[in-house]
Subunit: 369 residues, 2 copies
């Protein structure tokens, strides 16, 4: 169904009808000038926002809309968790070009609803409008935390341990894989198209039929053995489970942020805000087997991928040295280095003991290469 | 300066340096994963968001970036006031194409800061990223109100008076004026360009010089006597003053919303949410002299413009009949009709006593014409 048949209000009504409010603190959701929330007494509110642009942040030739919706929500929830807070509500604004139909937007919303359901978050409002080209998604997430629980980037102190959840570089490898297959697919399709034109020009109807059939069944890439990399790229998970585990273990990080632009870049943010330096050990970087295998296949340095590949949405945090045993006991968390005085700078200690200054080579859409 | 010279973090640093935090409740602004806010005890939080897309919501050929920033903020503050709440914080996300330079974005931010300063609102976060085409602005505003003060769209009751602040249709007329002048300017420029090509082809250097001079001084349109219409279109003001006046007068509206898509459309929202009908008197529609004069010049029905022209950002609210004297005493507020039972429908009473069903012909970017 074309979106123009429904118009803005019709589309909003259709999308809103499946949205259930789960939080007591959500008093008024979609449908008025504003959403109305009742903050829990004594709690702080945290707010984060992200803008995703087609062609810059995502490529719809290989990202299903449902996954895109899921990811768009998760990246915002990840920021809320990175404050050691619980996400409660979010608003969703979409600018939609005429190439999308109602079912597309429903698929996108379906993914967003699933991500929200996972963490008990309410969609409370937004804006739905037209765009001249492509899709634009703006999400704002609101969460809350007790004042004493909130963790900023600025609290790291010398000798603190640097911890990372999960593993790094897999989402970046997933992207490389998708980009490579896209190129191969496009080349094959272009070659078949060319042969088809020639066959048509010659009036060779038998060959036209064969080529048409080849085009229509042009094989989807085989990603077997690489599923984990794709999942990390297409369907990242915000690490609310780590936040819960930290709470359970009574660990209060001194600083924390989520890893969206690569470990190097994020560590440098923490060190800058905390006025410290750091040392990270290459041999301690957490890697999945598939990440390492793919890096080898693509002839990339896997440590560089782990340090600078973006979109991991893992948590990076620091804890006082005396909590070493406590963090070692946590599942899926690894100590990768330690905080130093600022004058030591930020450096990577390589496997052979070399020391290299960290560089923020993370993804930066506004920067010249 | 090109944005790519600074990159995302450099640009954010530059934009953030002039941002002062004014609210006690803003504990942490730009610079962490989330902003941190301390809601005032016992207050409700209200949240609204808007997405503005170049070519859909604004045309940079006649909208200065500073005005655009001002307006982008004001339309969100208008939604907060429409809940009878006070705006406190906002987040700003921008997607910027390579045609913009650092100074452009600073001008945009300057306008946003001015609008925020007017109402004591803090810019607490956002996202700044690239776009393939044009500019995209997403703003989320957060406000607060005492629970008993909040006014929804759903509280109108039969016999309530329908009130409107300011006057209607002027912003729409401003847009018509700008569009007309744009067409004239483009036609003149195209005609001169054509003559120039011909003169060049003939090698008539004297004529080339004359035409080049004409092109460079191609007159900017004369808007004298129409300044108010332009101001309403380019630099709208959210009516926080009306909210303050209502409070001062002890008037608690039964329903309220802001008029962004035209009075007809908004009234129908209120009636739908409140399950009522309404009667509006054509002769009571508040009009500015310039709006009426411009409508006549363009051969448009001024009442239609007032009912369906968008972007007025005035407040539409209903009050119980017994508050008639109190609202009549308010400056810049006019009673335009009354609420009826739902079965009466929504209608306009024309000057000659005719009754016509209201239609939501307001601006709807996703709807077919």
């Amino acid at each position: 169904m074309e979106i123009s048949e429904l118009g803005e209000f019709g589309l909003i009504e259709r999308l809103a009808k499946d949205i259930e409010i789960k939080n007591e603190g959500t008093l008024q959701g979609i449908g008025d000038d504003c959403a109305v929330l009742a903050p829990t007494e004594g709690m702080r509110t945290v707010v984060t926002t992200d803008l995703l642009v087609e062609g810059v942040h995502f490529d719809l030739t290989y990202v299903p809309l449902q996954h895109l919706g899921y990811k768009a929500v998760m990246v915002n929830l990840s920021d809320v968790f990175a404050m050691n807070a619980q996400p409660r509500q979010l608003t969703v604004s979409l600018a939609i070009s005429s190439k999308f139909c109602v079912e597309d937007i429903e698929a996108l919303y379906d993914g967003m609803r699933k991500a929200c359901a996972k963490w008990g978050v309410d969609i409370v409002g937004g804006d739905t409008t037209a765009s001249l080209t492509g899709l634009c998604i703006s999400i704002t997430a609101i969460g809350e935390a007790r004042p004493e629980d909130i963790v900023l980037r600025s609290g790291a102190r010398p000798n603190d341990l640097i911890c990372v959840s999960g593993n790094l570089g897999a989402a970046y490898m997933g992207l490389q894989l998708l980009e490579r297959e896209k190129v191969i697919y496009n080349e094959q399709a272009a070659s078949l198209q060319k042969q088809l034109s020639e066959a048509k020009a010659k009036g060779d109807s038998q060959r036209v039929a064969v080529l048409n059939s080849q085009l229509s069944t042009l094989s989807q890439p085989d990603f077997s053995g690489r599923e984990y990399l794709l999942e990390r790229q297409l369907k990242p998970e915000a690490r609310g489970d780590i936040i819960a585990a930290l709470r359970q273990a009574g660990i209060h990080p001194t600083s924390m942020m989520d890893i969206s632009d690569g470990l190097s870049s994020e560590l440098m943010h923490i060190c800058k805000e905390s006025r410290t330096g750091c040392r990270v050990y290459e041999e301690r970087l957490p890697l999945d087997y598939q990440t390492a295998a793919m890096a080898e296949e693509l002839n990339l340095n896997v440590s560089t991928c782990a340090l600078n590949g973006g979109e991991d949405y893992e948590l990076l945090f620091t804890v006082p040295l005396e909590l070493n045993d406590a963090v070692q006991a946590l599942e899926d968390v690894r100590v990768v280095g330690y905080i130093t005085d600022a004058d030591k700078g930020c450096a990577l200690i390589t496997r052979d003991g070399g020391e290299f200054a960290l560089k923020a080579q993370g993804w930066n859409p506004l920067k010249k290469d």
